[in-house]
């Protein structure tokens, strides 16, 4: 891949990182062998059809990545490596856990939140305008919006945004923090999750945590560790990726893609189409040397794209490359921004582990882009793109701050 992503390189004197919409992708081709930073061999899968197969074929799973005979995956494991988490179990066990939260995240369940999310968007834009031009759109908009939404869904009224940012950064760290620092932060974060669970058991409400606890009690098979991992996983996943995507979308739309800003303001349908294309074409992260794709492990020999991958192999499904596969997608963001997707994009994955929050993320992004363009038609970046201070050493990359003017 084309970029460095080093937490230690955050100071001055390093070459500016390219914005996320400018990253070059692996040319899609047949599965090929490479290695993870741990030295573990990994099959890189990059074509659209092959990536989709890796994610949906039951002969590949997440749980085998954490089996006793599994090779090391990460030099410094983070929250994604918790074997108890919903991400890392398969089959019926996974389904029983996912059932406790799935009903709250179906397209129609999410659509019911739309008026409320729109009201949060509008009040954040009011505050941004009150601060006056120029202002930091990350601090005022792209970060607080998803935090407000997930806090409301989960009933986390007193969530301290500084503590949340601390935990989230550690949770998705590649090189930014030591194993010890990550361990300490995750222990604190789990204690927070356990507290929320205890609180909701004592005093249930209408929130997502209360409903997942009721569903888990009815099921009877779900462990306390799984519940804690689920609650804190929802907190991180519920805001971090949406913030990242929205921040990077604005880096594109307020500079290279600025001619689209007026049309984004015109109607929600255009904003919805643009959201799909941005989700397809602008990746969440560039830490490919640490995580070259969504990892799976084969439980038997599997033929993928004409290559037989032996049982027990680690496979990385490179959704970024698949989302740019010229066999499937034509044109670039500039020409295709408002066009329907030629095929399903794989940013949210596919198969059993398809992103739970996909519809929530889409709705937040659509509303956030449409309403911001409508309220601030002359919005632009106040500083050159080369001066962006990026969040580094994490699985995701987005601006720490982004000064905008209008």
């Amino acid at each position: 891949m084309s970029t460095e992503n080093s937490a230690t390189g955050a100071g001055t004197g390093t070459a500016p990182l390219p914005p996320m919409h400018c990253l070059r992708h692996l040319e899609p081709g047949p599965p090929r062998l490479a290695a993870l930073p741990t030295g573990t061999p990994v099959w890189l899968v990059s074509r659209h059809a092959d990536v989709r197969q890796v994610l949906t074929d039951p002969r590949l799973g997440r749980a085998p990545l954490y089996a006793p005979d599994a090779p090391p995956l990460m030099v410094t494991p983070n929250i994604l490596d918790d074997p108890q988490s919903m991400l890392n179990i398969d089959g019926t066990e996974h389904q029983r856990l996912r059932r406790t939260v799935q009903r709250a995240f179906t397209p129609r369940a999410i659509a019911r939140w739309k008026p409320w999310v729109a009201s949060v968007v509008e009040s954040l834009i009011d505050e941004l305008i009150d601060r006056g031009s120029p202002a930091d759109v990350v601090g005022a908009y792209t970060r607080p919006l998803p935090v407000a939404v997930i806090s409301r869904l989960m009933g986390l009224d007193n969530l301290d945004s500084k503590r949340l940012a601390h935990w989230s950064d550690h949770a998705l760290s590649t090189t930014a923090y030591s194993a010890e620092a990550i361990g300490t932060a995750m222990t604190e974060f789990a204690a927070f999750g356990a507290e929320v669970i205890a609180d909701r058991r004592a005093d249930p409400g209408e929130d997502l945590v209360s409903s997942l606890l009721a569903a888990a009690a009815e099921d009877g098979s779900i462990t306390e560790g799984q519940l804690i991992a689920l609650v804190i996983g929802l907190v991180v996943a519920g805001h971090e990726t949406t913030m990242t995507s929205l921040g990077n979308a604005l880096v594109y739309l307020l500079q290279d893609g600025h001619e689209a800003w007026q049309r984004l303001a015109s109607d929600e349908t255009s904003a919805a189409a643009a959201t799909e294309q941005i989700l397809r074409a602008v990746p969440l992260g560039d830490a490919a040397e640490h995580m070259p794709g969504l990892l799976r492990r084969t439980v038997e020999d599997v033929e993928i794209g004409g290559v037989v991958i032996p049982a027990g192999s680690v496979v990385a499904a490179d959704t970024g490359s698949a989302n740019q596969d010229p066999e499937v997608f034509t044109g670039d963001l500039r020409t295709e921004l408002f066009s329907p997707l030629a095929a399903p994009m794989l940013t949210f994955g596919a198969g059993p582990h398809h992103c739970l929050g996909a519809w929530l993320a889409r709705m937040e992004l659509e509303l956030a882009l449409h309403r911001l363009a409508r309220r601030l038609p002359a919005l632009r970046m106040a500083d050159p793109v080369e001066d962006i201070d990026w969040r580094r050493g994490l699985l995701t990359r987005s601006p720490n701050a982004l000064r905008v003017a209008w």
Binding site: R52, Q53, L55, T56, D57, P58, G91, T92, Q95, R98, R99, Q102, R103, F105, T106, P107, R108, P344, F348, G349, A350, G351, P352, H354, L356, A358
Partner: protein, 85 residues
């Protein structure tokens, strides 16, 4: 699993453009739905065409589909039963 007594036979339709192959339905209702070789769901046995009993598992599969790609229809009348329009 048994469905509510006296219900009419149903068929299940899969929006294959929408299906993301979560496989949740094939786990909940293995007698009604299966994953194809391409990783997308399809109705099996009588649920594809002639119609059969609405089981709890099938009702659950339709309710829990992450992308709402499944719809239940009356096998005789053809009208949609779930999800509600």
């Amino acid at each position: 699993m048994t469905g509510p007594a006296g219900t009419e036979p149903v068929v299940v339709r899969v929006d294959r453009d929408r299906c993301i192959g979560s496989g949740m339905c094939a786990l909940s209702a293995p007698g009604s739905l299966a994953l194809d070789a391409d990783g997308r769901a399809r109705p099996v046995a009588e649920y594809a065409d002639a119609g059969a009993e609405l089981t709890d598992g099938l009702a659950e599969a339709v309710e829990y589909c992450p992308v709402e790609a499944l719809a239940l229809h009356s096998a005789r009348g053809g009208y949609r039963i779930a999800p509600a329009e």
